[in-house]
Amino acid sequence: MSESIRRRGTPLGEFLSAASLATIAHCFRMGWREAWTRKTLLASLFFAYAVLIGVWASVWFMVPATALEKIGIREAEIVWYFALTELVVFAMGHLYRDVEEDIRSGQMTMFFVRPVSYVALKGAEWLGHCCLRLCVFLPGVAIVAAAITGEVPVTGRGWLSLPLLLVLGSVVGILIQVMVGLSAAWFRSARPQWMIVQKCAFVLGGMVLPITFYPDALQIVAWATPFPALLFAPASVVLDSSRDHIAGILALQICWIFVCAGALWIVKARFEQHLLLRGEL
């Protein structure tokens, strides 16, 4: 049997080989199916998500329309913008906790005795979860937001580009979460690091207000982080769905995916070194 196995080559070739990509694609499909089997979780997440949008909308409805006009945005746009940033957050889930648990329980070792990367399998699994949730939540939230605001401020081009922007934003989020989870190897817990990342995403990613409305200095700081690619980029189609804008934010997301993947590659290498020297973490 061993002779019949087609051996993979060097680490990078290994990762990009057809066999590895087939494994990752299979893992993605399993993640998708696994998320679908947990229907109670899906329903409760969607319920919490819809309630949050309702609460957020009622807060903005208390702000005089003239005040919003001054900063150049309408009530419906701000509600839809928030609904889309929250969509990424709810779809992504807490992958970092899963990675942290694998480290704590020693389950991680089951992956290290296999000829594929833990990070690739875990990432593919969670991207499967995330894409399933995006597919389920997006139509649902569109109905909820349309019912609350009475309009749909997303253009046809916006709708067409939205799935891709949401998936790419989620990929950025997944890469960040895996890094945060792996950091538990050095800090014993990943939660403090996650708190910092979460707060940074909230502020610098433009979770509640588009970063284009931020003061200039804060915008400069925000654009220098991956968080706008995660949250602002997909939600910004509510404000601007021109061809140039969509091309710009797609380029931004792809750039940050490469940067985050590179950073994760380094963190993963350090993590493996740490694991291989100490056994358990």
Binding site: M1, S2, S4, I5, R6, R7, R8, E14, A19, A22, T23, H26, C27, M30, R33, E34, T37, R38, S105, G106, Q107, T109, M110, F112, V113, R114, P115, V116, L275, L276, L277, R278, G279
Partner: protein
């Protein structure tokens, strides 16, 4: 040799105390097809050795070769030639049918479709899991899940199978079934097994050689047949009876002068007793377990009966005694 280890040492640096040597210059040579029990008390160095042999831990010094690979330098290549089962860790996806996890493993190990189907059919047949593989893992009993875990480790037909407490938590029937399947499969395919377990039943029924490790050093390395004759001689019989103080049956025998040991049955001793329960230790070299049980069933109203191997700790204590004896 499929596994060859020379002077393998692992020393852990500790910040606030002296360095700790978990494995201290051990040497091992295991032939292809051997089934070896690697035993020792907690903290003896078993897991550390297994981790180095599976490539997930760097040694401090020494060399090792497993299926022709240096484990810590060729971890990913080695992965194609080894299977690993850690009793308390799962490789199956909890929410999905077992078959999905197998399909994924087929992709991970790069098995072509024909090879994968043939191999899956073979492990399903031998481990008798045909009726389980389309059920979600979460619906399986622990015994069923462990059979499926072992099948998962064997799908790529590894040359060496590392088993860490494979029967932990299983009931008596599930343990017996699992041991039988494992032995059968290993014999049929000449798979080398390296097993760690605190259950002497696993050792007796699966392995043909025993290596004892403690404080990071190998204390004993002998064929099981020799060891069984010397040490694995005692069985523990626990009886729960309707009568009060069942130990009196054996004590009476002693009083009547029909036996010459503490229990009145040669080679049997009372380990413990309470109001409706008695536990006996029977030396099988001196007395048949069947006879003790037959006598108990004839004279007592037995509600429950359990026959177990002597605890590994007791055997290890005996082994220590022997080693010290040899040493002195």
């Amino acid at each position: 040799m499929i596994i060859a280890v020379e002077s393998l040492t692992k020393r852990f640096e500790q910040k606030h105390s002296e360095d700790f040597t978990a494995v201290d210059a051990i040497n091992l040579a295991i032939r292809a097809g051997e089934r070896v029990a690697f035993i020792g008390p907690n903290g003896a160095g078993k897991s550390t050795t297994l981790k180095m042999l599976t490539g997930i831990l760097y040694p401090t010094s020494g060399t090792a070769s497993v299926a022709g690979h240096i484990p810590w330098q060729e971890r990913q290549r080695l992965a194609y030639d080894i299977g690993v089962v850690f009793g308390q860790r799962s490789q199956l996806w909890y929410q999905l049918p077992v078959r999905d996890s197998y399909d994924l493993l087929g992709k991970i190990y790069d098995l072509d479709e024909v090879t994968y189907r043939a191999r899956l059919g073979r492990v399903i047949e031998v481990l008798r899991i045909g009726h389980l593989i389309d059920q979600p893992v979460k619906s399986l009993s622990l015994g069923q899940r462990m059979r499926c875990e072992i099948a998962a480790s064997l799908l790529h037909r590894p040359k060496v199978l590392f088993l860490d407490e494979p029967t932990i938590g299983l009931d008596v029937t599930a343990k017996a079934l699992l041991r039988e399947h494992l032995k059968h499969l290993a014999e049929a395919e000449e798979t080398t097994i390296m097993l760690t377990s605190h259950d002497t039943g696993d050792i007796e029924e699966i392995c043909d050689r025993v290596i004892l490790i403690n404080h990071g050093r190998i204390l004993l390395d002998r064929p099981l047949a020799e060891l069984r004759a010397d040490f694995l001689t005692h069985k523990q019989i626990t009886l729960v009876t309707d009568e009060e103080r069942p130990e009196r049956l054996f004590a009476q025998a002693e009083e009547s002068g029909t036996g010459n040991s503490r229990t009145g049955v040669e080679g049997a001793e009372i380990v413990s007793h309470d109001r409706h329960r008695v536990t006996l230790s029977v030396d099988q070299n001196r007395h048949s377990v069947n006879d003790v049980v037959a006598e108990a069933l004839a004279k007592l109203s037995v509600r429950d009966l359990a026959i177990e191997n002597a605890p590994l700790d007791a055997i290890i204590r005996d082994l220590y005694g022997a080693r010290k004896g040899v040493g002195s």
